[in-house]
Symmetry: C2
Subunit: 274 residues, 2 copies
């Protein structure tokens, strides 16, 4: 999917919502558990209920791998079921030496047909480059994450000019790819850093986890992160998919996604982007 | 598997060899390609041919994910087939926020029954801790990798005392776990750094990729990395499993593994560890 296609979808839906499918067998309604593929049935209902309110779906690969072969089959069916117009992210946090990264790229871009994969930058340029060689596919590289552990390394000062590691990551990774094949993960619980991230990568899309269960504030993200092409994808997983616990889970998910979409539309209007 | 069990196996086999199963469908002999599960058949033959010469097997998860559901099924069968005495590593380079890392830990420690998983430290303590809560299971954390990209971030100076990022990783990660549940990846092509790594983590096992195809030198690794409990696992993947290309591939793999085992035995005797 191209950058222009993503932006077009954002404008037409007045939404930059990514719905995170962190689907956990122990948290889905009792009524689905008798199905032969309860994870897929749950995801299908969530996708049907939210697809007009969001521009992207993100599968958290861990939740599928945990279930072994059956889980991966549910992930495969889910990725196949997501409508073509949506930007599909495999949240996998991969990154390895070149020949192995090429295999991960083929796995997620070809075998599973995702548009994008999340990557850890720790192993450097040759671990990221193989993902940039696929046309209209995206590397979404961790810069500043939303968890407490971000302080351990990402916020450490590097070099002599007092920059943090995440800033060096932004600078270097942005120089390897372009705004047409690279995005960055920027945690929403670190609202005070957004202004700086946007200044460093003015044109790149930012994938923002941490709204909802992790406590990020949408207005502050928009104030600091929006640009003239919007260039934000804000993810909510648990806050949407586990919004209800009974048989009306899909309706509850639609309600939660609708509230986020409305809040996003309000921000887009506030900043003159609609 | 406990640390004592690993050390006992190293001593009884006079080997600290890990055979890397980076199995690529395009590189296995023609004769196996007609099989219903050629990847597993190839791995089974390699395991049978090398299991008395090595103490560990490592699956490179990317190579299996690339093949979709069938690849994961081949990985599952391979992990099940490896004899219990071997230390089984899932080379997956994972790491995510806490609840997701817990899912990855369950995936590889329970669903796939590995003894260890490789992890990227970029997301910090809460991304690593979930892996340390499993009895007799191991987190193998990237410190200094063998690829060129290691220079981009791992070798950057952090803080005011001129340490490199990989040193901060060693120090912090070592403080979260113990020598009984944590190992570090230390690239063999960086022989000059081994002395420093061993000084910083005198008691931890180091997993050393990069011998063979990546050009690391065994003697220099041993000189700088061995301690009184050996505490090294040296991996070779392509150098062993693709040593032959015809129907005698397993024999050729045994030959290559045997040469490495003999070289390791020589080093162990040289340093008075046998």
């Amino acid at each position: 999917m191209t950058r222009a296609e993503i932006i077009e979808q954002v404008r037409s839906k007045a939404s930059f919502l990514c719905v995170g499918l962190d689907t956990d067998l122990t948290k889905i309604p009792e009524s689905l558990r008798g199905s032969s593929d309860p994870i897929f049935e749950f995801n299908k209902a969530i996708i049907d209920a939210t697809q007009d309110l969001c521009v992207s779906f993100k599968v958290n690969v861990a939740f599928y791998e945990f279930l072994g072969i059956e889980g991966l089959e549910a992930m495969r069916r889910t990725l196949e079921y997501i409508p073509d117009e949506h930007f599909v992210i495999a949240d996998a946090k991969r990154g390895d030496i070149g020949n192995t990264s090429t295999m991960y790229a083929k796995a997620f871009f070809e075998t599973y047909n995702s548009d994008a994969i999340t990557l850890s930058p720790y192993m450097g340029e040759d671990s990221i480059r193989p993902f940039l060689d696929f046309k209209d596919k995206w590397a979404i590289v961790l810069a500043l994450t939303s968890n407490k552990g971000a302080e351990d390394f990402q916020l450490q000062q590097v070099g002599e000019n007092g920059r943090a590691l995440y800033e060096l990551v932004l600078e270097r990774v942005a120089s390897w790819g372009t705004r047409d094949n690279t995005m960055f993960v920027a945690g929403a619980t670190k609202g005070e850093y957004f202004k700086n991230i946007r200044a460093m990568v003015p044109d790149h899309f930012l994938l923002v986890p941490g709204v909802g269960a992790q406590g990020g504030d949408l207005h502050s993200i928009c104030e600091n992160g929006l640009n003239s092409d919007v260039s934000l994808l804000v993810n909510s997983s648990r806050g949407i998919i586990y919004s209800g616990h009974g048989n009306d889970f899909a309706k509850a998910a639609r309600q939660a996604a609708g509230e986020l979409q409305a809040a996003m539309e309000k921000e887009l209007r506030l900043f003159g982007l609609l």
